[in-house]
């Protein structure tokens, strides 16, 4: 049940790391040493579920959407007639 010691955000709030106030000893040590892999260590430790984050740590960022052919006659506005918020 216990969650990870850190939540990393890359978009929300402009990107930030939220640290728990009860990090593991390994995490505390890494942060005290200002170790470059502190985020990784703290993200991995203390969780019964583990922490994924592999894509981010691989350094990938979003950008283009891949190459497809541009077609001139595109119609828009065919979705979105629902009057109300989409979520529930």
């Amino acid at each position: 049940m216990r969650r990870v010691n850190m939540i990393l955000l890359v978009l929300m709030g402009g990107g930030m790391a939220l640290w728990s106030s009860r990090p593991s000893a390994e995490c505390r040590d890494a942060r005290a040493r200002n170790a470059p892999d502190a985020a990784w260590i703290c993200g991995q430790s203390g969780s019964s579920y583990g922490h994924s984050g592999g894509g981010y740590w691989g350094g990938r960022t979003w950008g283009g959407t891949g190459g497809t052919t541009s077609i001139a006659s595109v119609v828009r506005g065919g979705f979105g007639s629902f009057h109300g918020f989409g979520g529930s």
């Binding site: 990870v4 890359v10 929300m12 959407t65 891949g66 065919g78 989409g86």
Partner: protein, 370 residues
Amino acid sequence: MRRHRLTPRPDWRERARSLGFAYAEIAGEPYWDETACWEFTAAEVDLLDDATAELERLARQAADHAIRHDRRATLGIPEAVWPLLVQSWERQEPSLYGRMDLRWDGSGQPKLLEYNADTPTSLYESSVVQWEWLTCAYPDGDQFNSLHEALIAAWPGMRLPPTVHFTCVRDSAEDRGNVDYLRDTAMQAGLNAPFLHIDEIGWDGQRFVDLANREIRAAFKLYPWEALLHDAFGVHIARAATRWIEPTWRLLLSGKGILALLWELFPGHPNLLPAFREPGRTGGLEIAKPLFGREGANITAPGWRTEGPYGAEGFVYQAWSPLPCVDDRYAVIGSWLIAGKPHGMGIREDATPITRDTSRFVPHFFRSAA
């Protein structure tokens, strides 16, 4: 399960702002509410976790039954779109997330009120905002919440192309906040995650395309399936190769008709309430819910009635089991599933027994069994 009254942190608005939580207040009224919180025991959280997993098992069985036995009439799904649901189910297109709304007062078994299986919101506050609150308010406490890491871990299992477009309606900070948070988790899982508004999606005669006229091979849409299929572009969905998240088969579960089918298939199950498509069959007081109603609109319950645009599609009549009321606030538990497994909860409160879009999100914590 106990409600505590609290003094809010003096800087809670600044904290919300720094988190990008743009809908902490909606139309000048608080939505995020830390004047109170709910405390649970570890055993209570385990019980909610187990009930959610059990209900998911039942829901998947009911979906399979609906497909195999053509139960579209019970679910209120038009014949014209049924083949899309069948195809999506037979392909076993993965689900990313869902939220079950449960009625529970700490005794007996939690009861399923409805399953938001298509477009659930309150995700960011459940995952990040209430955890940030926990680290301040109860730093030694714990929380039923592994949503963030579960979402990041779930994306690779969705079997998606490298780019997934994200979309929702304009002019809803809440919807946009939920979508941007999901983009955040997708990006951390290594996906490209551009955004466009739902009305900006284009059709080039063969494919759905983005604003650069590039094919949308996969799209996360915070926009209900019943609306997507009803829109002018709905007729193109079957022709296009776009993978949609949530998949089409989730429409089997997101309407209220599933409540009647669940009760038919599993009568007397401890996590279900009696529910039928016809009134007067539950044997007691009933709440009438439109099949595809949203945000507590067009509900009729003993002593309560809400207005709204829904109901022409028909109703489900569910045994009336009012939410627990403490400090004049009615609380509903939203139990989250990520990739089909329970991973956390969020609690919303209202001054009435009907949870609506004006209900407030109240954080929770539990103390570990030391």
